[in-house]
Protein backbone atom coordinates (compact mmCIF):
# COMPACT_ATOMS: atom_id res chain seq x y z
CA UNK A 1 0.00 0.00 0.00
CA UNK A 2 1.26 3.44 -0.86
CA UNK A 3 2.01 5.92 1.92
CA UNK A 4 -0.92 8.29 1.46
CA UNK A 5 -4.10 7.12 -0.20
CA UNK A 6 -6.23 9.54 -2.14
CA UNK A 7 -9.23 10.93 -0.32
CA UNK A 8 -12.60 10.51 -1.98
CA UNK A 9 -14.83 13.54 -1.42
CA UNK A 10 -18.44 12.61 -0.76
CA UNK A 11 -21.49 14.88 -0.99
CA UNK A 12 -24.77 14.07 0.73
CA UNK A 13 -27.50 16.15 -0.91
CA UNK A 14 -30.16 17.64 1.33
CA UNK A 15 -33.59 18.59 -0.01
CA UNK A 16 -36.45 20.00 2.04
CA UNK A 17 -37.94 16.75 3.34
CA UNK A 18 -34.85 14.54 3.10
CA UNK A 19 -34.67 12.32 6.18
CA UNK A 20 -31.92 9.79 5.44
CA UNK A 21 -29.21 12.40 4.92
CA UNK A 22 -27.74 11.93 8.40
CA UNK A 23 -27.76 8.14 8.02
CA UNK A 24 -25.88 8.48 4.73
CA UNK A 25 -23.35 10.87 6.25
CA UNK A 26 -22.74 8.58 9.23
CA UNK A 27 -22.50 5.53 6.97
CA UNK A 28 -19.73 7.20 4.95
CA UNK A 29 -17.90 8.10 8.17
CA UNK A 30 -18.24 4.63 9.62
CA UNK A 31 -17.63 2.47 6.55
CA UNK A 32 -14.96 4.32 4.61
CA UNK A 33 -13.97 7.34 6.74
CA UNK A 34 -13.74 9.67 3.79
CA UNK A 35 -14.39 13.43 3.86
CA UNK A 36 -18.14 13.94 3.63
CA UNK A 37 -20.29 17.09 3.50
CA UNK A 38 -23.96 17.94 3.43
CA UNK A 39 -24.86 19.91 0.31
CA UNK A 40 -28.09 21.95 0.25
CA UNK A 41 -30.33 21.52 -2.76
CA UNK A 42 -29.67 25.09 -3.91
CA UNK A 43 -25.94 24.46 -4.35
CA UNK A 44 -24.60 25.24 -7.79
CA UNK A 45 -21.22 23.56 -7.75
CA UNK A 46 -20.45 19.91 -7.06
CA UNK A 47 -17.14 19.84 -8.91
CA UNK A 48 -15.06 18.96 -5.85
CA UNK A 49 -17.00 15.78 -5.12
CA UNK A 50 -16.21 12.27 -6.38
CA UNK A 51 -19.29 10.52 -5.02
CA UNK A 52 -22.72 12.11 -4.69
CA UNK A 53 -25.31 10.48 -2.45
CA UNK A 54 -28.94 11.35 -3.12
CA UNK A 55 -30.60 10.28 0.13
CA UNK A 56 -34.05 9.02 0.99
CA UNK A 57 -36.93 10.93 2.50
CA UNK A 58 -39.90 12.84 1.21
CA UNK A 59 -38.41 15.69 -0.79
CA UNK A 60 -40.96 18.47 -1.20
CA UNK A 61 -43.48 16.29 0.59
CA UNK A 62 -43.55 13.97 -2.45
CA UNK A 63 -46.08 16.43 -3.88
CA UNK A 64 -47.27 15.67 -7.42
CA UNK A 65 -45.05 12.55 -7.65
CA UNK A 66 -42.10 11.32 -5.59
CA UNK A 67 -39.02 13.21 -6.73
CA UNK A 68 -40.89 15.26 -9.35
CA UNK A 69 -40.17 18.63 -7.77
CA UNK A 70 -36.74 17.85 -6.30
CA UNK A 71 -35.64 16.94 -9.80
CA UNK A 72 -35.77 20.63 -10.72
CA UNK A 73 -33.68 21.79 -7.76
CA UNK A 74 -30.59 23.73 -8.86
CA UNK A 75 -28.30 21.02 -7.48
CA UNK A 76 -29.79 18.40 -9.81
CA UNK A 77 -28.37 20.20 -12.82
CA UNK A 78 -24.99 19.78 -11.13
CA UNK A 79 -25.70 16.11 -10.49
CA UNK A 80 -26.42 15.71 -14.20
CA UNK A 81 -23.09 17.35 -15.04
CA UNK A 82 -21.28 15.18 -12.49
CA UNK A 83 -22.85 12.05 -13.96
CA UNK A 84 -21.81 13.12 -17.44
CA UNK A 85 -18.27 13.67 -16.15
CA UNK A 86 -18.24 10.08 -14.89
CA UNK A 87 -18.50 10.87 -11.17
CA UNK A 88 -20.27 8.32 -9.02
CA UNK A 89 -23.88 8.98 -8.07
CA UNK A 90 -25.86 6.77 -5.69
CA UNK A 91 -29.57 7.44 -5.22
CA UNK A 92 -31.30 5.63 -2.38
CA UNK A 93 -35.09 5.32 -2.04
CA UNK A 94 -36.39 8.87 -2.64
CA UNK A 95 -32.96 9.52 -4.17
CA UNK A 96 -33.66 6.73 -6.68
CA UNK A 97 -37.06 8.27 -7.42
CA UNK A 98 -35.38 11.63 -8.06
CA UNK A 99 -32.85 10.03 -10.43
CA UNK A 100 -35.74 8.40 -12.35
CA UNK A 101 -37.65 11.68 -12.57
CA UNK A 102 -34.53 13.46 -13.77
CA UNK A 103 -33.99 10.89 -16.50
CA UNK A 104 -30.55 9.85 -15.23
CA UNK A 105 -31.99 6.35 -14.94
CA UNK A 106 -34.79 4.88 -17.08
CA UNK A 107 -38.29 4.04 -15.85
CA UNK A 108 -40.69 5.38 -13.22
CA UNK A 109 -42.16 4.50 -9.83
CA UNK A 110 -45.72 3.55 -9.01
CA UNK A 111 -47.45 3.02 -5.69
CA UNK A 112 -46.61 -0.30 -4.06
CA UNK A 113 -49.03 -2.92 -5.34
CA UNK A 114 -50.12 -3.52 -1.72
CA UNK A 115 -50.85 0.24 -1.42
CA UNK A 116 -49.03 0.02 1.91
CA UNK A 117 -45.88 1.72 3.09
CA UNK A 118 -43.53 -1.24 3.47
CA UNK A 119 -40.85 -0.98 6.13
CA UNK A 120 -38.95 -4.19 6.80
CA UNK A 121 -35.72 -6.09 6.18
CA UNK A 122 -35.57 -7.59 2.70
CA UNK A 123 -33.32 -10.12 1.04
CA UNK A 124 -31.70 -8.92 -2.15
CA UNK A 125 -29.85 -10.89 -4.76
CA UNK A 126 -26.78 -9.19 -6.19
CA UNK A 127 -27.48 -9.74 -9.89
CA UNK A 128 -24.47 -7.80 -11.14
CA UNK A 129 -21.37 -7.79 -8.97
CA UNK A 130 -19.18 -6.29 -11.66
CA UNK A 131 -20.12 -2.69 -11.00
CA UNK A 132 -18.19 -0.02 -9.12
CA UNK A 133 -20.80 -0.24 -6.35
CA UNK A 134 -21.01 -4.01 -5.95
CA UNK A 135 -17.68 -5.65 -6.82
CA UNK A 136 -17.08 -6.67 -3.21
CA UNK A 137 -20.15 -8.90 -3.26
CA UNK A 138 -20.16 -12.38 -4.73
CA UNK A 139 -22.18 -12.97 -7.89
CA UNK A 140 -25.70 -13.95 -6.85
CA UNK A 141 -24.98 -13.27 -3.18
CA UNK A 142 -28.04 -12.84 -0.97
CA UNK A 143 -27.81 -9.78 1.27
CA UNK A 144 -30.07 -8.29 3.93
CA UNK A 145 -30.95 -4.63 3.34
CA UNK A 146 -34.03 -2.89 4.76
CA UNK A 147 -36.67 -1.10 2.72
CA UNK A 148 -38.97 1.76 3.75
CA UNK A 149 -41.16 3.07 0.97
CA UNK A 150 -44.69 3.49 -0.32
CA UNK A 151 -43.74 3.99 -3.96
CA UNK A 152 -41.13 1.46 -4.96
CA UNK A 153 -43.09 -0.35 -7.61
CA UNK A 154 -40.60 0.12 -10.43
CA UNK A 155 -41.97 0.27 -13.95
CA UNK A 156 -40.38 0.31 -17.37
CA UNK A 157 -41.68 -0.87 -20.71
CA UNK A 158 -40.65 -4.23 -22.16
CA UNK A 159 -38.18 -2.71 -24.57
CA UNK A 160 -36.38 -0.92 -21.74
CA UNK A 161 -36.44 -4.05 -19.58
CA UNK A 162 -34.84 -6.07 -22.37
CA UNK A 163 -32.13 -3.44 -22.70
CA UNK A 164 -31.53 -3.37 -18.92
CA UNK A 165 -31.19 -7.15 -18.87
CA UNK A 166 -28.95 -7.29 -21.93
CA UNK A 167 -26.61 -4.64 -20.50
CA UNK A 168 -26.45 -6.12 -17.00
CA UNK A 169 -27.97 -2.91 -15.63
CA UNK A 170 -30.16 -4.68 -13.09
CA UNK A 171 -27.90 -4.76 -10.04
CA UNK A 172 -30.25 -5.89 -7.26
CA UNK A 173 -33.41 -7.98 -7.34
CA UNK A 174 -35.73 -8.84 -4.49
CA UNK A 175 -35.16 -12.44 -3.52
CA UNK A 176 -38.24 -14.27 -2.29
CA UNK A 177 -41.17 -11.93 -1.75
CA UNK A 178 -41.28 -8.87 -3.96
CA UNK A 179 -42.46 -6.17 -1.50
CA UNK A 180 -43.83 -3.70 -4.03
CA UNK A 181 -44.66 -5.40 -7.33
CA UNK A 182 -41.71 -3.98 -9.30
CA UNK A 183 -41.15 -5.18 -12.85
CA UNK A 184 -38.82 -8.22 -12.91
CA UNK A 185 -38.38 -7.91 -9.11
CA UNK A 186 -36.02 -4.99 -9.69
CA UNK A 187 -34.70 -3.40 -6.49
CA UNK A 188 -31.80 -1.44 -7.95
CA UNK A 189 -30.34 -0.56 -11.33
CA UNK A 190 -27.38 1.23 -12.85
CA UNK A 191 -26.95 3.38 -15.95
CA UNK A 192 -25.19 2.04 -19.03
CA UNK A 193 -21.99 3.84 -18.22
CA UNK A 194 -21.93 2.25 -14.76
CA UNK A 195 -21.52 5.36 -12.63
CA UNK A 196 -25.11 6.15 -11.59
CA UNK A 197 -26.95 3.64 -9.41
CA UNK A 198 -30.43 3.88 -7.93
CA UNK A 199 -31.99 1.47 -5.43
CA UNK A 200 -35.05 1.39 -3.20
CA UNK A 201 -33.46 -0.51 -0.25
CA UNK A 202 -31.30 1.40 2.21
CA UNK A 203 -27.66 0.19 2.37
CA UNK A 204 -26.85 3.09 4.71
CA UNK A 205 -29.16 1.49 7.29
CA UNK A 206 -27.30 -1.81 7.10
CA UNK A 207 -23.75 -0.95 8.06
CA UNK A 208 -23.50 -2.49 11.51
CA UNK A 209 -24.71 -5.75 13.04
CA UNK A 210 -26.31 -3.64 15.75
CA UNK A 211 -28.66 -2.39 13.04
CA UNK A 212 -29.53 -5.96 12.08
CA UNK A 213 -27.19 -6.22 9.12
CA UNK A 214 -23.89 -4.91 7.90
CA UNK A 215 -24.41 -6.08 4.34
CA UNK A 216 -24.73 -2.49 3.09
CA UNK A 217 -21.17 -1.59 4.08
CA UNK A 218 -19.61 -3.19 1.05
CA UNK A 219 -21.40 -0.81 -1.28
CA UNK A 220 -19.42 2.02 0.27
CA UNK A 221 -16.13 0.11 0.37
CA UNK A 222 -16.70 -1.07 -3.21
CA UNK A 223 -17.17 2.41 -4.58
CA UNK A 224 -14.15 3.75 -2.70
CA UNK A 225 -11.97 1.00 -4.10
CA UNK A 226 -13.38 1.46 -7.60
CA UNK A 227 -12.72 5.16 -7.41
CA UNK A 228 -9.17 4.64 -6.20
CA UNK A 229 -8.43 2.05 -8.84
CA UNK A 230 -10.58 3.71 -11.48
CA UNK A 231 -11.27 0.15 -12.51
CA UNK A 232 -14.94 -0.14 -13.29
CA UNK A 233 -15.93 1.60 -16.48
CA UNK A 234 -19.33 0.65 -17.75
CA UNK A 235 -22.10 -1.69 -16.79
CA UNK A 236 -22.18 -2.83 -20.39
CA UNK A 237 -18.69 -4.29 -20.24
CA UNK A 238 -19.58 -5.93 -16.95
CA UNK A 239 -22.72 -7.72 -18.06
CA UNK A 240 -23.08 -11.28 -17.01
Amino acid sequence: MTAVEKQMHVAVLVFPGSNCDIDCYKAVEQTIGQPVEYVWHEASDLSKFDLILVPGGFSYGDYLRSGAIARFSPVMEEVRKAAEAGKFVLGICNGFQILLESGLLPGAMRRNNSLKFRCSPTTLEVTNNKTAFTHEYAAGEKIQIPIAHGEGNYYCDEETLARLEKNGQIVFKYSGENPNGSVADIAGLINERGNVLGMMPHPERAIDVLLGSEDGSRMFTSVLKAWRENAYGTAATASR
Binding site: I69, L100, N113, D157
Partner: protein
Protein backbone atom coordinates in the same frame (compact mmCIF):
# COMPACT_ATOMS: atom_id res chain seq x y z
CA UNK B 1 -57.64 31.99 -18.62
CA UNK B 2 -57.99 28.70 -16.79
CA UNK B 3 -56.43 25.40 -17.73
CA UNK B 4 -57.74 22.16 -16.31
CA UNK B 5 -55.25 19.33 -16.55
CA UNK B 6 -56.08 15.64 -16.16
CA UNK B 7 -53.30 13.14 -15.56
CA UNK B 8 -54.00 9.40 -15.60
CA UNK B 9 -51.92 6.26 -15.45
CA UNK B 10 -51.35 4.90 -18.96
CA UNK B 11 -53.68 2.16 -20.16
CA UNK B 12 -50.97 -0.50 -20.25
CA UNK B 13 -49.58 0.36 -16.81
CA UNK B 14 -51.12 -1.28 -13.75
CA UNK B 15 -52.82 1.27 -11.47
CA UNK B 16 -52.71 -0.25 -7.96
CA UNK B 17 -55.04 2.40 -6.50
CA UNK B 18 -57.59 1.95 -9.26
CA UNK B 19 -57.49 -1.80 -8.76
CA UNK B 20 -58.09 -1.45 -5.01
CA UNK B 21 -61.03 0.90 -5.57
CA UNK B 22 -62.51 -1.44 -8.15
CA UNK B 23 -62.24 -4.27 -5.61
CA UNK B 24 -64.04 -2.15 -3.04
CA UNK B 25 -66.81 -1.24 -5.49
CA UNK B 26 -67.22 -4.92 -6.27
CA UNK B 27 -67.57 -5.67 -2.55
CA UNK B 28 -70.36 -3.08 -2.44
CA UNK B 29 -72.18 -4.87 -5.22
CA UNK B 30 -71.16 -2.71 -8.17
CA UNK B 31 -70.18 -5.68 -10.29
CA UNK B 32 -70.59 -3.78 -13.55
CA UNK B 33 -67.38 -1.83 -12.88
CA UNK B 34 -64.71 -3.63 -14.88
CA UNK B 35 -61.94 -1.11 -14.39
CA UNK B 36 -61.07 1.99 -12.33
CA UNK B 37 -58.28 4.35 -13.27
CA UNK B 38 -57.30 6.97 -10.72
CA UNK B 39 -55.68 10.18 -11.83
CA UNK B 40 -55.01 13.77 -10.89
CA UNK B 41 -57.00 16.88 -11.62
CA UNK B 42 -55.25 20.25 -11.63
CA UNK B 43 -56.52 23.79 -12.14
CA UNK B 44 -54.08 26.34 -13.45
CA UNK B 45 -54.89 30.04 -13.64
CA UNK B 46 -52.93 31.64 -16.46
CA UNK B 47 -52.15 35.30 -16.85
CA UNK B 48 -52.55 35.42 -20.61
CA UNK B 49 -55.20 35.96 -23.31
CA UNK B 50 -53.30 34.21 -26.03
CA UNK B 51 -55.00 30.87 -26.41
CA UNK B 52 -52.56 29.35 -28.89
CA UNK B 53 -49.57 30.32 -26.78
CA UNK B 54 -51.30 29.04 -23.63
CA UNK B 55 -51.96 25.70 -25.28
CA UNK B 56 -48.33 25.34 -26.23
CA UNK B 57 -47.13 26.39 -22.76
CA UNK B 58 -49.48 24.06 -20.87
CA UNK B 59 -48.43 21.18 -23.09
CA UNK B 60 -44.81 21.89 -22.18
CA UNK B 61 -45.74 22.09 -18.49
CA UNK B 62 -47.36 18.67 -18.74
CA UNK B 63 -44.38 17.15 -20.53
CA UNK B 64 -41.82 18.64 -18.15
CA UNK B 65 -43.47 18.45 -14.75
CA UNK B 66 -47.19 17.81 -14.40
CA UNK B 67 -47.13 14.29 -15.86
CA UNK B 68 -44.46 11.61 -15.97
CA UNK B 69 -44.95 10.40 -19.51
CA UNK B 70 -43.22 7.10 -18.78
CA UNK B 71 -46.30 5.96 -16.89
CA UNK B 72 -48.89 8.73 -17.27
CA UNK B 73 -51.04 10.30 -19.99
CA UNK B 74 -52.37 13.82 -19.80
CA UNK B 75 -54.99 15.98 -21.42
CA UNK B 76 -56.11 19.52 -20.74
CA UNK B 77 -58.78 22.07 -21.52
CA UNK B 78 -58.53 25.84 -21.70
CA UNK B 79 -61.45 28.00 -20.59
CA UNK B 80 -62.25 31.70 -20.41
CA UNK B 81 -60.42 34.77 -21.57
Amino acid sequence: MKATVYVTVKENVLDPQGKAVQGSLKTLGFDEVTEVRIGKYMELTLDTNDRAAAEERVRTMCEKLLANTVIEDYRFELKGE
